[in-house]
């Protein structure tokens, strides 16, 4: 398996040989930031294209197919349009908070994006409380959403933001509980160690058998709710609230929300594939050495992306199947079903681990 840290340590050494230490760190930070932002933009565009095509196929349509081959240039045109649109500044709004809110949302989204393990040794934010950090930073997004709704001085925005607050804060409980369940199994909160463990001993979704599988499903449901998507999209429910909390945003300010929404979906899928499906770890079957060697030739980032897009497929499939829930139904689902289930899973997983029933 190719170790990306070979390249990063070579770059580090090369930079150190020509410039002082503080400048090296600065240059590396800028490079990493550029890389992250580029990847962010590229994946947002890919996601928008995939979403539009998938949604069309579910609805027996073809989707965008006019601009470029199979409509692939359509997304680029949409991005250019978004970049060149006017940013309208409104009277009687809280200007400062109104301008700040999209940056909070997109910052939370980008920072969590940086937590994803792309390859062995290719991880931007990696330390011993990675999972905890991921959850903590991810929660900043909801602050941005609440501020957006409050500062716009618009009833639709405010209703959307209140719904988003109620929903995201509720579902974060489930996500946290499921993460705890899996940390019982992994024994570490560092993403690189989680991936390394899975590369050596098999994916956690197999090792934790039915408990991990149930936790995976609960994670997908709660993650979808965190992203304000699918049947849980009532913070922005366009048929009742125009666009919910980002009703009053235009141009690239709106674009940030748009980007963050799609990237949050990607991050949700990425985190699911990291914790349950092994991140960059290849698929290995113990005992079949020839097969395992072939699997190990495939680079880690390909494995990671394949897994992410598999989870994305599940999320999109679910998103275009179910109708939007009412706010009381959403909260009922969380508080009456998902939280008891995830608590039960946590207890079961703890029992399994302590009795040595996992693999």
């Amino acid at each position: 398996m190719f170790d990306f840290s070979v390249f990063t340590s070579w770059l580090d050494a090369a930079l150190l040989s020509v410039m002082p230490g503080w400048l090296t760190i600065l240059v590396e930070c800028v490079l990493v930031a550029l890389g992250i932002i580029t990847l962010y933009a590229i994946f947002a565009m890919v996601m928008i294209y995939v979403e539009r095509k998938f949604c069309a196929f579910v609805q027996c349509r073809l989707g965008p197919d006019r601009v470029g081959p199979w409509g692939t240039i359509q997304v680029v045109c949409d991005v250019l349009k978004m970049l060149t649109k006017e940013i309208v500044s409104l009277r009687k709004t809280d200007r400062f908070l109104h301008a700040l809110a999209p940056f909070l949302v997109v910052t939370a989204s980008m920072t969590t994006f940086a937590c994803l393990p792309w390859n062995k040794g290719a991880q931007i934010l990696d330390f011993n409380v990675g999972v905890f950090f991921f959850l903590a930073i991810g929660s900043i997004g909801v602050v941005g959403i609440l501020l957006a709704g409050w500062s716009a001085n618009n009833k639709y925005s405010l209703i959307g933001a209140m719904r988003a607050g109620a929903q995201i804060i509720s579902y974060e409980l489930s996500i946290g509980m499921v993460m705890l369940t899996m940390i019982c199994l992994t024994g570490t909160m560092s993403f690189s160690e989680i991936c390394q463990n899975q590369a050596e001993g098999g994916w956690y979704i197999f090792r934790g058998h039915f408990v991990a599988l149930a936790a995976f499903i609960v994670y997908l449901i709660a993650g979808n709710a965190e992203c304000n998507r699918g049947p849980f999209d009532l913070p922005e429910s366009e048929s009742e609230l125009t666009a919910g909390y980002h009703t009053e945003y235009s141009g690239m300010d709106f674009g940030f929300y748009y980007l963050a929404e799609y990237l949050n979906l990607f991050i949700c899928a990425g985190m699911a594939s990291t914790i349950f499906l092994g991140g960059w770890a290849p698929f290995v079957i113990p005992g079949l050495d020839g097969f395992n060697e072939v699997m190990a030739i495939i680079p880690g980032f390909v494995w990671f992306l394949v897994k992410v897009f598999f989870v994305l497929f599940l999320l999109l499939w679910e998103r275009w199947t179910f109708p939007r829930l009412r706010i009381d139904q959403i909260l009922t689902l969380e508080w009456k079903y998902l939280i008891p289930i995830s608590m039960l899973l946590l207890v079961l997983m703890a029992l399994c681990v302590s009795l040595g029933l996992t693999f």
Partner: protein, 259 residues
Amino acid sequence: MANTSYFAGLIGGIKSLCTGLGVTFRELWTPKITERYPENRKENHIPERFRGTLVMPHNENNEHKCIGCGICQMQCPNGTIKVETKMVETADGKKKKQLVRYVYDHGCCMYCMLCTRACPQGAIEFSPEYEGAVFARESLFKVLNQPGSKCVEKPARPAAAKPAAATEGAKPAVAQPQTADADAAKAKAEKMAAAAKKAAENAAAARAAANEAKAAAEANAADTALQEAWKEAEAKALKLETAAKNFAQKAAEAAADVK
């Protein structure tokens, strides 16, 4: 919902969600029904009853069925139709409306079909022609009758229905086939036929008056004034009848020329 227990509701919910996922998963692979319009305009099938635009069908002789009655114009709730007509005198001396221009404002039409339902002649109908986009508002005004077209002629009525004197002269002229080469002769024949008809009518009227005068005179033989009037009326009727005969003969000759 209220009657089901917590676990039954949970299991039932999961089942129904899985059913939904199954439906969309199957739908993912079905052939897509999107019509790729500009590429498929050759094979694109539009149902016949689709109301795309109003048309006035013309037959192979460039004849339509519109009699210019204007009922469609009155029926149209939007003022979409404007029927321009003129009064013409037919060969048998009747006044008749004739269509000049049938103007249809496609931009105003709401495709309710009240005009086509109201038309007593079945002269207009909706066609599934759907490419109605134009570059200027004025282009939406369409003249539905083709240039040089005319109303299709109905077969002539039976001779018995017309005055005896008139039919002799007028009938051949009316029954003429409409050929383009003998325009002048035709016009003359028609003129003569009209004159003959008028003369015949005059003669008939005079004869009727004379008959009345005769009856009156015979009733009171003593009244010399009535006798005089009878004689006068008789003379006038005879004169007019002779003239009518002459006219009829001339009309017949003119009709023969046309043939």
